[in-house]
Amino acid sequence: MSSGLRGRQDIERGQSVKKEVYKLTVNGQEYELALEPQWTLSHVLREKLGLTGTKEACKGGACGACTVLIDGKAVPSCMVLAVEQVGKSIETIEGLFRDGMHPLQGAWLEEFGAQCGFCSPGMIMSAKALLDRNPRPTETEIKEALAGNICICSNYEHIVNAVLVAAERIQETQRRRDHG
């Protein structure tokens, strides 16, 4: 006969839960939230702010489903602590839907960029970070930028097409603005 797991001491640590109030800026809006230090940003976005567009598929930084932009950089929000994001500008998929769909979202619909859709928010945010810094990416540059985003439905070819279409549209809009 042998016993299973060892019993765990210091449950008291779990009982005296410390929450302090932090200010987080998400999609241009400031929120005051009581946060526990070990909460990841993805957990806080989803469960405390109800912004469930950001998905959690692995919670290990290995799949990119939780990608958000922090100060313009695409990061896996399951691998950063919410309490450490004070003073930063956080952008989620919900933030793209302003004055209608972002060109990436429209392109995603046209090119069938989403099959089950679970990777789509993270994939779109990674693509946005790419287009913000490189408005005319090649196919290779797109793949390298999205290399941290897994699509289990294997929809990569459609996704690349969607990014190319979106880039074209954004450039076209820019051209019209410049000339008009």
Binding site: M1, G14, A57, W108, Q115, G117, E139, K143, E157
Partner: protein, 805 residues
């Protein structure tokens, strides 16, 4: 922007009153009906639903691969502040067993206010185990002295429903007699091998125990309010699961509402049978019982590690012997196959391994067939069918040996397939029809797929035998074909749909058929729009839960488009007939003189005589009038169109079928494979939505994953623990790892579907491993018979390293 897919159209088919040349919605890559929420993030998967006072379940798992639980003490865990319930076999015997059969099996659960409290409380549960001997591999488990996974049962089970078929009708070719036997087949294999000019044999073809793909780990959230249990989850078949769950929980069926509008991909692997320990669906019972007891919402969501552990696996071992005439005619197949089911799982997939054999894929010339199939228990996590449901394993074995045969016969591998693959009208003696002894295959087009793929990869110019390859990096080309089951055409595969037509010309399609990302909601909407003659944008879909929808079949076995397609079509036709019946008197004609286009009802012989839907409906008021027309159809296979000339004993059986080619480079010094290209060519009859069909073909990547990226559930040999239980050590294919080129072939010879479409879903997973293995052989001249084809195996095959002792 590059367009990389091609469709090769052939003749057009005239359908049932609907002129296919005039199709306006079918055949177009319209946008996903429910695409917007997916790209805006508004789509609520079960894990996105957050309810007030929600509690969280955390599961305690066994450290032993085989043990009895001697005692369990949950007092300390229960005393933790924030813990609401601790569950085990003692208070919830339907959800937890007293014996464990794989390392990591669930033994208890804590329901708590937050996850941290739940995790901490788990550690206070005291369990005394009595560990027992265990067995961790298929090869070990089939040995006679292996420890028994289930006491009193041998580990290896012969498949119980093998039949011997005989008495072929000289006119139809269908078998007339089917008797239970210890193998499945027909003819006389011994005789066949004796008469064969060339025999090719391979043993020990191993398909490693790999994991079903799922982007969203499984789980559920349940809430019990006002005498109603709402189940938020992912489901491939809401209605059946609801019925089973209600029974297990002791509720009536009407008290349970299943909500599953979005599923984060499942590829067949998330089929749930609550209460059945052979299915990894205990999250339903944990949350269900806890919700009922606590009267608060309970979320039981797997982590990625739990999904890696509990989600279904699959793996097998095969021996194959093929007998040929000198001209390449494949006359005899002798097939031995063992499928690992772990400590549970579903035994049915093993039958599908036969799809690649003389029962179906090679039934054209095969006169003698012996398929001896077994399923084997081990002390590993559950295994079952997903994306191919047993067929990929069979195809891997047969198509690898076909490649060896091509070499021995001196025939090009593509030509050898062309000589032997099934054609439309050939016989299928597989298990799908159940009640039928054998059936006619409704369509093929495999030759056209081979030709298209060969052209794309420049096979005839680029293919060279391995002996001619030189240099450090060697390129190899491989090919494999497949055919996969598509629904169960005999009785037992049923579904329904409802269509509501409104006076403003819009329609709601009410259908519970699950959209896992494979596009069902879109395609069914297209069928409804086409049948009713209205624009696609005028169709809405109501699909979210079981309360609001009629029964729909499970999406499995690639049957959604086909089986549900009939239901949608007939329901729309039902509504259409009612609508035209209303319209006819207003136009002074008979209903069958009318047609509908772009939402306008017109007289076919005088199109200027027309009215819109509102006029057809007539005046509406608060007290009455026709506010809606409801069309409904309950479809039970087979549909009359599936019978040859309407004859009851002569069933057409549709198949998913096609060819794949793989090109890859092998570095003979490091064993690394790179530059992987997969060409996927399938005959879909008609692509109802080409982009969706392409998306299905892209799933060939899963085969690449299984082939090259180390897809193997690696367990520690001494403790049975799953060592690569995350997405870093078990590698889903990334955007950089291979290229896939889909080629859609439309050969409209299939009468079994309203618009001539046949399945495409699981097929992409079937031939990839064989094509990959064949490409490696073509590159380096050594056949690696065990997946995954990792560098260590390649270097060993090349003699660069010595083997294990």
């Amino acid at each position: 922007m590059q367009s990389w897919s091609r469709r090769k159209g052939f003749k057009k088919l005239k359908g049932d009153g609907i002129m296919v040349d005039q199709l306006s919605v079918i055949g177009k890559s319209v946008r996903q009906k429910d695409g917007c929420p997916r790209v805006t993030g508004e789509a609520k998967f079960y894990s996105d639903v957050i309810l007030p006072d929600m509690l969280y379940a955390k599961i305690l798992r066994s450290p032993y691969p085989q043990a009895d639980i001697v005692s369990i003490d949950t007092t300390k865990a229960e005393a933790v502040e924030g813990v609401k319930l601790v569950m085990s076999y003692r208070n919830f015997p339907k959800a937890f067993r007293r014996d464990v059969h794989y390392a990591g099996e669930h033994v208890a659960a804590v329901i708590a206010e937050d996850e941290e409290t739940g995790e901490a409380a788990l550690e206070l549960i005291e369990i005394e185990y009595d560990p027992k001997p265990f067995v961790l591999s298929l090869e070990e488990a089939i040995k006679p002295d292996a420890p028994q996974v289930f006491q009193g049962q041998p580990n290896s089970h012969d498949w119980e429903l093998s039949y011997y078929l005989s008495e072929k009708d000289p006119e139809t070719g269908l078998y007339q007699k089917k008797e239970l036997h210890d193998f499945h087949g027909f003819g006389d294999v011994k005789q066949g091998l004796k008469e064969a000019d060339v025999i090719v044999e391979e043993t020990g073809l191993k398909y490693a125990y790999c994991k079903s793909p799922a982007m969203n780990p499984r789980g559920c959230l349940m809430s019990y309010r006002n005498d109603k249990l709402t189940v938020y989850t992912h489901s491939q078949g809401m209605h059946h699961e609801k019925t089973v769950l209600a029974e297990v929980l002791g509720l009536s069926v009407s008290q349970v509402n299943y909500v599953s509008p979005f599923t984060g991909s499942s590829f067949g692997g998330k089929i749930a049978e609550p209460g059945d320990f052979n299915h990894p669906s205990h999250y339903l019972l944990i949350a269900g019982f806890a919700t009922l007891v606590l009267q608060k919402p309970v979320k039981c969501a797997y982590t990625r590690e739990e999904e890696m552990l509990c989600g279904w696996s699959r793996g097998s071992l095969s021996n194959v012997k093929l007998g040929f005439r000198n001209d390449g005619t494949l006359t005899t197949i002798d097939f031995d196959h063992w499928m690992e089911v772990g400590s549970g799982g579903d035994k049915w997939p093993v039958k599908n391994s036969l799809l690649a054999t003389g029962t179906t894929l090679y039934s054209r010339n095969c006169k003698h067939m012996r398929g001896k199939i077994r399923y084997v228990h081990t002390n590993r996590f559950l295994s079952c069918g997903w994306q191919g449901y047993g067929a990929p394993e069979g195809h891997y074995a047969i198509e690898t040996v076909m490649d060896a045969a091509a070499e021995k016969l001196g025939i090009d591998p593509v030509e050898l397939r062309k000589i032997n693959h099934m054609r439309a009208g050939d016989i299928d003696t597989g298990f799908d029809p159940l009640d039928y002894k054998s059936c006619f295959i409704s369509a093929s087009g495999i030759t056209e797929c081979l030709d298209a793929g060969a052209e794309e990869i420049d096979w005839h110019n680029q293919w060279k035998p391995p002996g001619e390859k030189t240099g450090r990096v060697r390129r190899g080309l491989g090919v494999a074909i497949f055919c996969m089951g598509a629904g169960r055409p005999g009785p037992g595969n049923s579904t329904s749909a409802m269509v509501k037509v409104y006076p403003d010309g819009t329609v709601n399609l009410i259908s519970a058929i699950a959209d896992l990302g494979q596009g069902q909601h879109t395609v069914q909407s297209q069928i409804a729009a086409e049948t009713l003659g209205i624009p696609y944008r005028n169709v809405g879909i109501v699909c979210h839960d079981t309360d609001s929808t009629p029964w729909a079949t499970i999406v499995a076995n690639s049957c959604g488009t086909w089986v549900q397609g009939w239901a949608t079509y007939e329901a729309a036709m039902d509504a259409r007939r009612k609508l035209l019946y209303l319209a006819a008197p207003k136009l002074g004609v008979e209903p069958d003189e009318l047609d509908i286009k772009d939402g306008i009802i017109f007289v076919q012989s005088d199109p200027e005589k027309k009215i819109d839907f509102a006029d057809a409906f007539g005046p509406l008021g608060i007290y009455g009038g026709n506010h809606e027309i409801v069309g409904y159809y309950y479809h039970d296979n087979p549909h009359p169109r599936c019978l040859k000339e309407g004859k009851q004993g002569q069933l057409y059986i549709p198949k998913e079928k096609g060819a794949q080619f793989v090109s890859l480079d092998v570095d003979t010094r490091t064993g690394i494979i790179s530059n992987v290209k997969v060409i996927v060519a399938q005959n879909v009859g008609r692509a109802l939505n080409p982009k969706i069909v392409e998306g299905q073909f892209l799933n060939a990547r899963h085969g690449v994953e299984n082939a090259a990226l180390g897809s193997d559930c690696i367990v520690d040999p001494r403790s049975g623990r799953l060592l690569n239980c995350n997405w870093i050590e078990y590698r889903p294919t990334s955007i950089l790892d291979c290229e896939v080129t889909p080629i859609i072939i439309e050969k409209p010879e299939d009468p079994t579907h309203p618009f001539g479409a046949t399945a495409c879903g699981e097929g992409a997973a079937c031939p990839t491993l064989a094509a990959f293995s064949n490409a490696i052989y073509n590159a380096i001249g050594v056949r690696i018979k065990e997946t995954p084809f990792t560098p260590d195996k390649i270097l060993l095959a090349l003699g660069k390293t010595k083997g294990r002792k």
